[in-house]
Point group: C2
């Protein structure tokens, strides 16, 4: 059973934690125990993951050190976070596999994802990244760096960047060949590092962020997996989430997904992109997408919990 | 012709540069032009690289931001630098290959390298890493973090870490399978992230740095290449370097290497590890090691310049 697992931010860094190396390593160990159970019930795993908190910290470190060292742009910070998280997953997962008496090669691939330079998202940056600024700092950064900065719900000012549609995973052949040969491939972390490829094939990074679940859908189709397992911090998808009419969903069809998305049931900052990723995966040939809690990965895969989305 | 190229720090960041993203990308483009020439004369390339300046900057950013964010340990910073440099090489080299009408998959692998926890190096840390400190800071860090800190040639105080011997590249099967299938694999950046593997197979990172050319020798043997091409900022290996008796060497035998190493001809901070790497590669089955200037990679490979070391 071929499965791509898309790990949410909580798989590596939990809300309220400071993000020390020990905390992250412990979370990855705990996540890895869940992943090992999937292997034990026969899943042939590939893994992708978010990078929001990590790239946020790297951006903040760049900001705080900028008087002494040139700050790196978003694409390079994203690649750094892929190295960091890829390494943590290699160490944690390989250790847990060994502990369970299993042995499978694991490999983390630095992954670039092509986007369209004419993607409408570049004209309407919406995705907040990096630290909060005061109004004065915000005005200065708008002038100095040409950043687009908006007020973020009373907590200060924050840079917003475009979130274009992922079109092509540049390392797809390598990722696919490793996966087909039995390697647990960790790739497209944080949705991949966004790049544009010009007509001559030359590549350059862009200041944008990709949604990890939209890229996960693309990756899942590239790998030809039947199941896309999106692990997050809620048990299921809900209608009317957070209201007295809240209702958990066991199953969803693609049509229901579309209708509820149109109705605004799934906010763009959280469940929306997961549902969109699921729909895109199924349209691209996938059999089932499951959205479930990280803590119940295995029972979700066997249909006991989580929300199943099928064609 | 199978060739592992070991790129020195100057391939990505040159002395006197601040290390902006634009500078690094431009250096990588220029390095990539040299690498493309190797491909054009028939070399089947694998690549490894140093990470000294980059991991130094990441460590300094961690230091400067530590009041707000937990500082990451050396192993994680090393993995971040592999992500950063791997990405830069993927972008630069793929662009230059396309410009030359060539097409080869490129992939950067986050690489761990096992060391012996009983390696004598752990009792005698020698390798300076990260920023300079004042005497007061040095004393505080010795106490707070248990770091070993020594005075560095009058320029201040600096942390020193062990540089144990690289024993095993944990991603070796993956790297080898990709290389054999025609991928230009970038791996073991900065000598690899050092880890120890305990008797149960559990893995943990260690606070150490590996010498990139010693790891390159191991990697070259794993890949089964005939040629290890170590590219640096000097034209050849010299005897009596920097003295009036300075003499360039066109050829060296393994025995001469050993004798000159014993005589202290090659300083441990620069040429020493390259010669040691070359010897270790040849003893492990390699045919020739070449030490040459990055700017003349192709003429060195064809024997017109550089120092050839053979069994």
């Amino acid at each position: 059973m071929k499965v791509l697992v898309s790990l949410g931010g909580n798989a590596i860094l939990r809300r309220g934690e400071k993000g020390t190396a020990d905390e992250q390593a412990a979370n990855v160990r705990s996540t890895s125990k869940q992943l090992v159970r999937l292997v034990q019930v026969g899943a042939k795993l590939a893994i992708t993951h978010g990078n929001g908190p990590q790239v946020g910290n790297i951006l903040l470190q760049n900001e705080l050190a900028k008087a002494e060292l040139p700050a790196m742009p978003l694409d390079i910070c994203g690649a750094e976070s892929q190295g960091m998280i890829g390494y943590l997953l290699e160490v944690g997962l390989e250790s847990e596999l060994k502990r369970a008496g299993l042995d499978a090669p694991i490999s983390a691939i630095v992954t670039r994802v092509a986007v369209d330079p004419l993607d409408e998202a570049f004209r309407h940056p919406t995705k907040p990244v990096g630290p909060f600024y005061s109004e004065t700092e915000a005005a200065r950064l708008r002038g100095e760096r040409g950043w687009q900065i908006t007020s973020d719900s009373g907590r200060g000012y924050r840079r917003v960047v475009p979130s274009p549609k992922p079109l092509d995973i540049l390392e797809k052949k390598v990722i696919r060949s490793l996966y087909d040969a039995g390697t647990i491939v960790v790739s497209a972390g944080g949705g991949g590092v966004p790049v544009v490829v010009n007509e001559n094939g030359e590549i350059s990074g862009v200041e944008a962020v990709l949604d990890k679940d939209r890229t996960a859908a693309l990756l899942a189709n590239v790998l030809g997996v039947e199941t896309l397992l999106i692990l997050t911090d809620v048990e299921r998808v809900y209608l009317n989430y957070g209201t007295p009419e809240e209702r958990p969903l066991d199953r969803l069809s693609v049509e229901e997904c579309r209708r509820y998305l149109d109705e605004g049931q799934f906010p763009s900052g959280s469940m929306g992109p997961k549902i969109e990723g699921a729909v895109s995966f199924l349209e691209g040939g996938g059999v089932r997408a499951i959205i479930a809690s990280l803590d119940n990965a295995e029972s979700a895969l066997s249909g006991k919990t989580g929300t199943f989305i099928e064609r």
